[in-house]
């Protein structure tokens, strides 16, 4: 966790079924004197007086998330929760976080069956939302296989690039599968609790630590592969490949830096399509600029002449 003048950040990956564990974490932090301020891939806390608060993290219904078409939550959902004694803190996509000092305020979600539907729908949306990324990776691999077969470009370099794409695809599928397994375990326990007329099952102890560990292993694997490619390109390949690899890495890093806040938010379909097109244009443009820069550094253009 990083601290900086009254602000603390914590890497907090979690599944849709882990909202209870997430709420408990925020309660713990509030008792330690850190109040949740915002929630993305990192939870951001601000220094405050230690206080005993109740938190609820809920999957706010979104359009089409259920068999009945439910309107987008947003302000009406928040208003109803506030009337019931809860204060809205922040949200990360469809996960809304509320807190209250009132011990007698009812939990925001009290129906296990409804909660199970929300968790199933969220998991389904996660898979559907990942399909474009997976398709893109598959298309890239096929395109490079085509290049490889036609003899265009460095075969070793194409093989290295394909290895990264395959690894990224595998990491994506493995993390989605791990997510689904975690969600299904919770759903099985919730179904049992629903039959017995009890409350929704609490998350297992240490679940957030496990999610963090899994996410770090996945990110580490991809980072290692990228570093491996970088080392390979810099040490073993010619100036053109070196320039291409460095231009790719710099343009992707710049895209992530500039659009990091936009990437984390949920958008309408039309806005998402627009952002994807904009992102691709930005990548192409910055790749070209960086390629020219590195090409000049490694004398690519002189060699071509």
């Amino acid at each position: 966790m990083s601290k900086d003048k009254g602000i603390k950040k914590e890497f907090l990956p979690f599944y849709s079924s882990d909202t209870d564990a997430v709420a408990e974490r925020f309660e713990q932090r509030a008792a330690e004197g850190w109040m949740l301020k915002s929630l993305g891939l990192f939870a951001e806390y601000a220094l405050c007086e230690p206080k005993k608060l109740r938190f609820n993290a809920v999957l706010c219904p979104v359009k089409g998330s259920n068999s009945a078409s439910i309107p987008l939550g947003g302000s009406e959902y928040i208003t109803l929760c506030e009337e019931a004694g809860w204060s809205f803190v922040c949200h990360r996509q469809e996960v809304y976080v509320f807190c209250t000092e009132d011990d007698s305020a009812p939990d925001i979600e009290t129906d296990i069956a409804q909660r199970m539907e929300s968790v199933k729908a969220a998991n389904k949306r996660l898979w559907l939302g990942s399909i474009p990324s997976m398709l893109l990776q598959v298309l890239n691999i096929l395109r490079r296989i085509g290049l490889h077969a036609s003899g265009a470009g460095s075969k070793a370099f194409i093989a290295a690039m394909n290895s990264i794409s395959i690894l990224t695809l595998v990491v994506l599928i493995v993390s989605l599968t791990a997510n689904t397994i975690g969600v299904r375990r919770w759903l099985a326990a919730a179904e049992l609790a629903a039959k017995e007329g009890g409350r929704a099952p609490a998350s297992l102890p240490g679940v957030l630590s496990r999610r963090k560990r899994t996410a770090l292993i996945m990110l580490g694997a991809v980072l290692l592969a990228v570093l491996g490619l970088l080392a390979y390109a810099l040490l073993l390949c010619g100036p053109v490949v070196r320039s291409v690899v460095l231009a790719m890495i710099c343009s992707h890093a710049l895209l992530a830096l500039i659009f990091r806040k936009t990437i984390g938010k949920k958008h309408s379909t039309a806005k998402t399509v627009l952002l994807v097109i904009l992102g691709m244009l930005f990548l192409a443009f910055t790749f070209l600029i960086f390629f020219i820069i590195f090409g000049l550094v490694f004398n690519v253009f002189e060699a071509a002449e």
């Binding site: 109803l80 009337e83 009812p106």
Partner: protein
């Protein structure tokens, strides 16, 4: 045979419809459900929100323009279809209770 949407109501749904015997806003519905159930049933605002949306999309309730507080509080009232669904559910529960009464009385006598 697959179940039709809302052919039977869950306990919270039943009580929410009972609470809509007259137009009420969300917080009033929650309070009324707790009152009718004598404190046994408490519905969270998130659960209520989803339930009201489901009822509205199935035509069982309709929003009522609310005059107070700049129209922020959304009120709902039961539609004729909602009243019919509630009546069917009440009759179903009455039949279930009546069917079980004889059996349960015999069980109590046995001991």
């Amino acid at each position: 045979m697959p179940k039709e949407a809302l052919s039977t109501l869950t306990e919270p749904m039943y009580y929410v419809l009972l609470a809509l015997n007259r137009p009420r806003c969300g917080i009033e519905i929650m309070a009324r459900v707790e009152e009718i159930s004598h404190g046994r049933l408490r519905i969270g605002p998130g659960t209520l929100y989803t339930m009201l949306a489901k009822f509205e999309s199935n035509g069982l309730i309709a929003p009522v323009p609310s005059a107070g507080e700049g129209g922020k509080r959304k009120s709902y009232e039961m539609t004729p279809a909602g009243a019919a669904q509630l009546t069917r559910e009440y009759e179903r529960l009455k039949r279930q209770a009546a069917d079980g009464k004889e059996v349960m009385e015999a069980l109590y006598e046995q001991g």
